[in-house]
């Protein structure tokens, strides 16, 4: 991939990073596209799940996992129903929503980050108060929200962490999703959504009940629950792909991480998450964190950085140990016990893991 003017940017948007793939797909995709979609649903699925095109263009897989879930998500957006992606933290909800928006609208930037302080203006529109005072209410004085812009341009708007938004603010979405209009009573006007507009929301179903969706709003969404990776091999391949991509973006020197090391980290994450060892023989305590794939990725990544800058460039047990401890021990008392128990009962006994055991003991 060439580095041009955007080279200074730490992380590029999906539609920029994969611009070549999107262009190639658009060229070959001769299936029917829903209005204002850059690709057909088939093309979007191909972009997300990866595969080979004619003339040898390789599309990298963006989401590794259940194909059916991705298909449900795309079909949902094609029926102009809003899509709600649920899952525990680190199951690629945001990742998937970004790539869906990039593939469908060519624009993944129309984003509302949900927080406890998210106000109605963030979802509807705000005012440029200087202009408002000078000229009175007018379209010029209006500051459109990402959702409003998506409606005007017929694109996908993304709402992150929907359940963190206060319930009354959430409900602003109801009119937008059912009537596909956004009334502006101050101007006696409205914005009507152009075809192609839709909303992808993500929410965390681990700390549910933060601000549970009202049933009226829930009814407007089709829900897809993203699971943690089904098999260890799948998870290893996710971590490997992502670490390599991130390493490239961060320009880390040194070698690519050995698969065995990734396999080991993924095994630790999976065992602690499931509360039992892979062979199913030993029961384990689970730590309070979600032990997601995303965290496994960041453990490998920080290990790589350590190895590159302070080591010999090869990822070793010592480089991942502190990252592992940091990812697992979220609660200094409870989780430390869990991690220690795991180290003493599982890691210590396992063949070929003694380096990891020693390294992790040092960090505790």
């Amino acid at each position: 991939m060439k580095k041009d003017g955007t080279q200074a940017v730490l992380r590029r948007h999906a539609e920029e990073q994969f611009a070549e793939e999107l262009a190639a797909l658009a060229k070959q995709d001769d299936r029917q596209r829903p209005p204002n979609w850059k690709l057909s649903p088939w093309g979007v699925a191909h972009y997300i799940l990866g595969g080979k095109l004619d003339r040898g263009i390789e599309i990298t897989p963006k989401y590794i996992g259940n194909r059916r879930l991705v298909e449900i998500a795309i079909a949902t957006l094609a029926t102009d129903r809003a899509l709600l992606l649920l899952g525990v933290p680190g199951t690629a909800k945001t990742w998937l929503s970004e790539h869906l928006a990039a593939a469908i609208s060519g624009d993944s930037t129309l984003l509302v980050q949900g927080t406890a302080g998210t106000a109605e203006e963030t979802i509807r529109y705000g005012w440029n108060y200087a202009l408002l005072l000078a000229k009175g209410p007018s379209r010029e004085a209006l500051v459109p929200s990402p959702v409003m812009r998506a409606m005007q341009e017929g694109k996908i708007a993304r709402v992150e962490e929907l359940t963190r938004i206060p319930a009354d603010v959430q409900d602003t979405l109801i009119t937008i999703l059912s009537e596909k209009t956004l009334p502006i009573p101050e101007l006696d006007d409205e914005v009507q959504a152009v075809k192609g507009f839709n909303v992808i929301a993500t929410a965390n179903n681990r700390d549910r009940g933060v601000n549970e969706l009202s049933s009226a709003l829930r009814r407007r969404f089709n829900t897809v629950i993203l699971p943690t990776p089904a098999t260890a091999d799948e998870e290893v391949s996710i971590v490997k792909t992502r670490v390599e991509a991130l390493g490239r973006a961060l320009e880390l020197p040194g070698d690519a991480p050995p698969v065995e090391e990734i396999r080991r980290i993924v095994a630790i994450f999976r065992e602690l998450r499931d509360g039992k060892t892979t062979d199913g023989k030993t029961k384990l305590k689970s730590p309070s964190g979600s032990m997601s794939t995303a965290e496994a990725i960041s453990v490998v990544n920080s290990g790589l950085a350590l190895a590159a800058h302070f080591g010999d460039g090869k990822l070793r047990a010592g480089d991942v140990a502190s990252g592992l401890t940091g990812a697992i021990v979220k609660d200094p008392v409870q989780d430390a016990i869990v991690w220690k128990e795991y180290l003493e009962t599982v890691v210590k006994e396992r063949e070929g893991w003694s380096d990891l055991y020693r390294a992790c003991r040092e960090t505790l």
């Binding site: 298909e71 449900i72 949902t76 049933s215 009814r219 829900t223």
Partner: protein, 765 residues
């Protein structure tokens, strides 16, 4: 292609095949129909014309002497075979089965080792696969072709095929036959087919049947068989084939078979169960059969209504969105119409909000389904089956596949009869009803049952048929037979319990006789003691069921007399483990005596107990218990009990013996110790007089006894120890001459035994 017959290769239980077959048969207008199925059942075929025959049904072919050796041929409304049968019968043309008769198949089979396992083909006419999961090509060749063509469900592919060849009725069958011919050529003759010889025999017999039909002069014969066999049936008229077929069929073993129609269920048709027919989604197929168009709308509407019944949101708007999503998914996957996969996924995303739990319900009701077929009452069946049918009708207990709960009030005649029927069936191993405990409603006149009819009960019923022609007679005779072969009193008593619940006077009579005989001959007092409490319970509570309890009470009396006579011998020289069992048995009998409320029996028992207490060499545990029971019953006064206590606990005795005695005496009730002053002081004195070595020996034994007391009792005991000098007057101990110093020395230890805190100062004054 010969004109006198035409082969229709179908997919077993395929609604698509069935629909095409119906249209094709109407166009072809055959004058005879031959169907892949057991010719043994030809005599039962005309029944299928009756309107009361409601599929799913199964033809049961069994060996009359050994009903466990049986084969089921299930039919659903959407089975092409069923469609063919109905078509032929409604036009009054000959309908015949043409597969290899079961007289040969069952005849050559070895009787199965396990009674409950028998050979049931997964598909009509297709013998079961060697392993439930591995589907071989011959099982569902059309499903395989569909998969190759990118369809997940063979039915959808069939529809697709038919739709693309709408011009000519039935042309699809010729195409199928051609396709199968190619598939069969590819198949390695020595390949994975499991029973090559049997397959060839079957096809030979089919050809033989076709030849016979041609010889009879039929001009248009419709032949319906599994697609796989279709090409093999075309070369009927090849030269020399008849002779070859006859040679193949020579000398097959034979066995007598009988046939019956029996109701079947969708659950049994599905792959989930052992007798399944390999249809993964019968309820969905049913819908496909019923509605040619808009299957998605019908299915999702049902799903929404089902979910709504569970108090979950599912509005019409939800259904609309779900249908749209299913269609969009199908379009995304390049399918002409949404299939079951798309429907389930749409239901999950829209109706269930991604939650898998409600999906289980949908799977049970709308994919597998709980439909149960029915046969008319006059259908040939064993007399026992007919009797049960009549009873079910009279008692308003319909046989349904899904679970139904009944709360029977035995004071009502109808409910009482229902309960009797269920108990009788249970006795016959037809476990239709499952009796369960329910909290909240008390009283011996309530019975809670959960009923779920399983089609394979019919086998048990046929098996039970040899015991009698009515449920009552069969259960009675069966119980009587078991009584003859029972080898222990315990089994007999359990059986008697069942027989009484089932209200079988004849069986009860023979069981009681058997029990009397066992009791008289056996002479094992322990068995008698085990048998007595349940009998006493029946005798006491049997009244609710209006059973004649007098006869039981007489047996109880006989048993008790034998127990009273034999107990002293039985209780002598027991080791500690045996003594513990005897201890429990004595408690059980004592409770029974309380239940029976018969003074003569009570006196008899107490006299036996008092003799037991005096017996020398008796295990201390049993002796202590006997004294305690006699004390509770008021048979002995305080003084007498106190004397025996001090005797047993006197220093001359071995401490282990004393501790065992006190365990037997006090076990389970600290209350006596708290409130009975003389006993308290006796125990206290005994304990205080122990030497250090003796005390160390008895401490664990005492701990064992005291640990069984409830916490409040232990606390009260501790408080008494603390305040013993200032508390209630100490009866037998001379208080004025009390040696406080010595008492103080033992108190901390006693407190330790009792598990209470002993304040070091103050309270001892």
């Amino acid at each position: 292609m010969p004109d006198v017959f035409r082969v229709f290769g179908v997919r077993h239980h395929g609604p698509g095949s069935a629909r095409s077959l119906r249209a094709a048969l109407e166009a072809y207008e055959p004058d005879a129909v031959l169907i892949e199925g057991p010719p043994d059942a030809n005599s039962a075929l005309p029944l299928a014309a009756q309107d009361e025959m409601k599929p799913p049904l199964a033809l049961l072919v069994y060996v009359p002497d050994e009903p466990q050796r049986a084969v089921f041929y299930p039919f659903a409304a959407f089975s092409p075979e069923w469609v063919a049968i109905r078509h032929g019968l409604s036009r009054k043309i000959p309908v015949r089965f043409m597969d290899l008769p079961q007289i040969h198949c069952l005849g050559s089979e070895k009787p199965p080792a396990n009674e409950t396992q028998f050979n049931a083909p997964p598909l009509v006419g297709e013998p079961s696969p060697p392993n439930g999961q591995e589907a071989e090509i011959w099982q569902d060749p059309l499903g395989l072709l569909a998969q190759v063509a990118g369809f997940e469900d063979g039915e959808r592919w069939w529809d697709h095929l038919v739709e693309s060849r709408r011009d000519e009725k039935g042309a699809v069958f010729d195409a199928i036959t051609d396709a199968m011919a190619v598939l069969r050529e590819d198949q390695n003759p020595a390949g994975p087919r499991r029973d090559e010889a049997r397959e060839r025999q079957r096809e030979a017999f089919m050809r033989k049947t076709i030849r016979a039909a041609i010889a009879e002069g039929h001009q248009r014969i419709a032949i319906v068989c599994g697609a796989w066999h279709a090409p093999a049936l075309l070369d009927v008229e090849k030269k020399g084939s008849a002779a070859a077929d006859n040679a193949l069929l020579k000398g097959l073993p034979k066995v007598k078979t009988a046939v019956a129609w029996t109701p079947w269920s969708y659950d049994r048709l599905s792959f989930r169960s052992g007798y399944g027919a390999g249809v993964a989604s019968p309820a969905y197929y049913d819908l496909l059969w019923k509605y040619e168009q808009h299957v998605a709308i019908h299915w999702l509407t049902r799903a929404a209504r089902l979910i709504r019944k569970q108090d979950l949101d599912a509005s019409s708007a939800h259904i609309i969105e779900a249908v749209r999503l299913a269609e969009a998914l199908a379009a995304l996957r390049g399918r002409p119409q949404p299939g079951l996969d798309e429907l389930v996924e749409a239901a999950l995303a829209v109706l269930c909000s991604g939650n898998e739990a409600p999906l289980q319900l949908i799977r049970r009701k709308l994919i597998i389904g709980d439909r149960l077929g029915s046969v008319p009452e006059d259908a040939p069946a064993t007399p026992l089956q007919q009797n049960l049918l009549a009873l079910q009708k009279r008692l308003r207990l319909p046989a349904t596949a899904d679970e139904q709960d009944y709360d029977l009030d035995l004071r009502k005649p109808l409910d009482l009869e229902r309960s009797r029927l269920l108990h009788r069936l249970n006795l016959l191993n037809v476990r239709w009803g499952d009796q369960r405990e329910e909290r909240g409603k008390k009283g011996t006149f309530h019975e809670f049952w959960r009923l779920a009819w399983k089609p394979e009960f019919v086998i048990e019923l046929i098996a039970a048929g040899r015991w009698g022609n009515t449920v009552e007679a069969a259960a009675s005779a069966f119980a009587g037979d078991r009584a003859l072969h029972a080898d222990s009193l315990g089994t007999l008593v359990a059986l008697l319990d069942d027989a009484l619940l089932a209200d079988l006077p004849d069986a009860v009579g023979s069981l009681l006789a058997a029990i009397q005989q066992h009791a008289a001959l056996g002479g094992d007092v322990l068995q008698l003691m085990d048998a007595l409490p349940p009998l006493a319970r029946i005798g006491r509570y049997g009244n609710v069921r209006q059973t004649d309890v007098a006869i039981i009470l007489s047996v109880v009396e006989g048993l008790l007399t034998r127990v009273c006579v034999g107990i002293s011998a039985a209780a002598g020289s027991l080791d500690d483990d045996a003594a513990r069992q005897m201890f429990a048995r004595i408690n059980g009998i004592h409770d029974s005596i309380g239940l029976l409320q018969n003074d003569a029996q009570r006196d008899q028992w107490l006299a036996a107990l008092s003799k037991l207490a005096d017996q020398s060499g008796l295990n201390a545990l049993v002796a202590g218990r006997a004294v305690r029971l006699l004390h509770d019953a008021g048979f002995w006064q305080h003084e007498e009990v106190g004397r025996r206590l001090s005797l047993a606990l006197s220093t001359g005795n071995d401490p282990a013996h004393a501790a065992g005695w006190i365990e037997g005496f006090l076990s389970g009730s600290g209350a006596l110790l708290i409130h009975d002053e003389p006993i308290w002081s006796l125990v206290d004195n005994w304990l205080s007089d122990l030497g250090p070595d003796h005390f160390a020996t008895v401490l664990p034994l005492l701990r064992r006894t005291f640990a069984t007391f409830h916490a409040p009792e232990r606390r009260q005991l501790g408080e008494r120890v603390k305040s013993r000098s200032g508390g209630a007057p100490v009866g037998s101990a001379p208080s004025d001459e009390f040696d406080y110093e010595r008492a103080d020395a033992v108190l901390p230890l006693l407190a330790k035994i009792l598990g209470v805190q002993y304040p070091s100062a103050g309270s001892a004054q």
